[in-house]
Symmetry: C2
Subunit: 161 residues, 2 copies
Amino acid sequence: MSVSSTPSSPRYPGADRDARPDVSTIEDVLHGAGYRSTRPRRTIIETILDQAHPFTPEHLLAAVHRADPSLGRATVYRTLEILGALDVLTRVVVAEGHSAYVVGLPGHRHHLVCSGCGAAVPFTACPVDHLMAELSRTTNFAIQSHVLQFIGVCPACQPTP
Amino acid sequence: MSVSSTPSSPRYPGADRDARPDVSTIEDVLHGAGYRSTRPRRTIIETILDQAHPFTPEHLLAAVHRADPSLGRATVYRTLEILGALDVLTRVVVAEGHSAYVVGLPGHRHHLVCSGCGAAVPFTACPVDHLMAELSRTTNFAIQSHVLQFIGVCPACQPTP
DNA sequence: ACAACGAATGATACTACGTCTCAGTTATGT
DNA sequence: ACATAACTGAGACGTAGTATCATTCGTTGT
C-alpha cells in the first residue's frame, strides 16, 4: 500500500484514504464506456488531478486554460459532464446551494467539507440503510440514491485563541 | 390534531406531518429578525405557501408574477435569500447539481424527494449523530451542519406494469 | 395624526455561467 | 492508409441572478 504523492486532502486517522486515481486509470474508464482518448481530455484530466480541493467548472476552466489557453470552454464542460456520469467525479455541497466536483473512483463515498478552505475528506461509513428501508416501506417510494454530507471547519481553518 | 388543507405533499404513514406554517407565522419570523412587513413580501410568502412541491427561484418568480406582474424580480430573490437565512426555507437537491426550496419552519428535518414529480416528503429521523461524533473526533473538524436526503420515485410516478 | 427617517422596492443595466451550433479536425477499426 | 464518426474550438446565444439608484412605503417618536 503506497501513499500517493498527488496534491490532495490531508490524511486523517479514521477517515478513508483518498484513493485518487491517475490519468490512465480515468482514461481506461472513458475507453470502457466507448469514449475516445484525446489530448484535450488528457489535459483536462491532468488538471482535475492537480486540484487539491473540490472545484467548480469555472475554476477548472481557468486552471485548464493555464495549461492550454486554446482548449475550448465547451470541451471542459462536456468532459465534466461525462466524468460525472461515469462516477469519476462526485458532487459535494460547498456552500448553501453551491456545489463542486471531487475526484474519486467508484465506491460508496461521502464527504466532510471545510467551509473555510473547501478541503474535502471522504469517508465510507453510511448509517442510512435502516432509515432508507423504513422510509421505503412507509412511503412506497422506490428510493434510488441519497445525499449525505457534513460541513464544518477543518483544524487549519479554526481560530486559535 | 388537524390535517391542514393547504396544498402540500401527500401524507404517508411514518413520515412526518408536513407542518406548513401560515403567512402571519412567517411574517412574525421576519419581524422578529428586524425586517419590515410589506405588501410585496406578503404576496411572495403567500405564493410560496401555494407551492405543492419544491420550487426554484425562477419558478416562484413566475408564480408571483401571476399574482402581481408589477412585483420586481429583485424583490423575489431578496426575499428568498432572507427566508433562507431565517431557516423558513430549506434547500433540497432535486437533480444532480440542481436544488430547490422547500418551506418548513425550524426543527431538524430532511427530505425524500421524488425525481419524477418533485414531491418532497419530510422526515425527522436522522441517524448521523454517532458518525458525526466519530468524524469530529478523528478529523478534528468542527462540524457545523450536515446534508441528508433521499431521492427516489414516488408511488404515483412509478411505472405500473 | 403627522413628520422624518431609513428600509424596501421596481426598473433596468449588467455580469456570469453555461449551452448550442457548426465547420474543421482527429481518433479508431479495417 | 482510408473511411467514418466522434470530438473539438470559436463564438453566438440564452438564462439566471446581481448591482445600482431614484422613488415609495413602514415604522417610530412626537
